[in-house]
């Protein structure tokens, strides 16, 4: 069912019309998306034996150790134990990639190694294997602070992401900031609006009945305001991801998160 059918475009406009403008969230007021969930969903995320995202991480561990591609090498052959080799890595992505002179997110980085190092085909966006490797690598940063690199080369890209965040879009003509900076904590239909911190990705979303990466989540928000979502892998998404990482700087990584 499309979201418009669920809450109705007009109802959405009416609800948001009554919203106040609050502007940027102070550091002390920042809250993970988990804080807006029911106690049961929080518990599902917290308990490794009950968090379905851990199944993806387990799959990721097998892939980490599997030799593949023309080079016949596994990730582990070059990087060793992920527990040490990948510790803190996910917390500082997206990062600047020299070769393309542009930022890449963790999925882009994984696929570079797939192509250049393993001589294998890149993994498709949101594919099971990409989700699994992302969850497994993300898990190695769990509990560590989100730490985007202080790389001046990233600045223009991040600023484009910031501009996108404040830009009104879609038939409903809303910006990300209007919902997530100005009106977090209020409800859209029955769903609370979180602050949109990207510190738990990939997540297991109950609505999806499966795992998804940040870009999938962002596409859901874009279609929520009936905007044409960017395609997977679009530069705009990576720029938004850069901005979101800066906005969540210092917040602990929760990967794999669970969301309603």
């Amino acid at each position: 069912m499309n979201p418009a059918a669920r809450i109705g475009g007009l109802a959405l406009i009416a609800m948001l019309g009554a919203f106040a403008a609050r502007a940027q969230i102070a550091d002390a007021d920042r809250k993970s998306g988990a804080a807006f969930m029911s106690a049961q969903t929080q518990e599902m995320q917290r308990d490794d034996g009950a968090n379905p995202g851990m199944l993806a991480a387990l799959d990721g561990e097998s892939l980490w150790n599997a030799r593949t591609g023309g080079a016949g090498k596994s990730c582990a052959d070059c990087h060793g134990e992920a527990q040490t080799g990948m510790k803190g890595v996910a917390a500082r992505y997206p990062a600047f990639n020299e070769a393309s002179a542009a930022p890449i997110d963790l999925q882009g980085r994984i696929n570079l190694c797939r192509q250049d190092q393993q001589k294998a085909t890149p993994l498709a966006p949101e594919s099971r294997d990409l989700l699994a490797l992302s969850a497994f690598i993300g898990l190695q940063s769990r509990g560590m602070p989100t730490a985007p690199p202080d790389d001046p080369r990233l600045t223009p890209f991040r600023e484009r992401g910031r501009a996108l965040w404040s830009q009104r879009m879609g038939q409903l003509n809303f910006s990300c900031a209007q919902c997530h900076d100005d009106n977090w904590g209020k409800h859209l239909g029955s769903a609370p609006i979180p602050q949109a911190h990207a510190n738990a990705y990939p997540i297991y979303r109950l609505e999806w009945q499966g795992m998804g990466l940040l870009q999938r989540r962002l596409r859901n928000c874009m279609s929520g305001v009936r905007a044409q979502a960017f395609p997977y892998g679009a530069q705009e998404f990576v720029e938004l991801e850069l901005f979101l990482a800066e906005r969540a700087r210092g917040m602990p990584v929760e990967t794999p998160g669970v969301r309603p």
């Binding site: 308990d47 034996g49 009950a50 379905p52 851990m54 199944l55 387990l58 799959d59 009945q209 499966g210």
Partner: protein, 106 residues
Amino acid sequence: MARALVNVPAKVKRGDVVEIKVLISHPMETGFRPDPNGKFYPRDILKSFACTYDGEHVFSAELFPAVSANPFFSFTVVATQTGVLTFSWTDDKDQTQVQTAKIEVE
């Protein structure tokens, strides 16, 4: 097919009622979900799950499409002896997977 996360407390006392958790990776495709072509994704579910303790029945379940994707079960067992818990689940095509876990009783 699927893989699973099985959670059994490492060391328990004789006579304790112990909580077991099992999370199985499976889409539990209901057969009622429309696909983009106006048809339905074909049903593909786990239809049963069972746990035995050194061969003796502890807990089992017959499952229908209303069980969530990635089925989760938590149930209890009386720890009577050091032994092996065997978990098995069977899908619509009658394929069965088995996983075991040791339980150490003091």
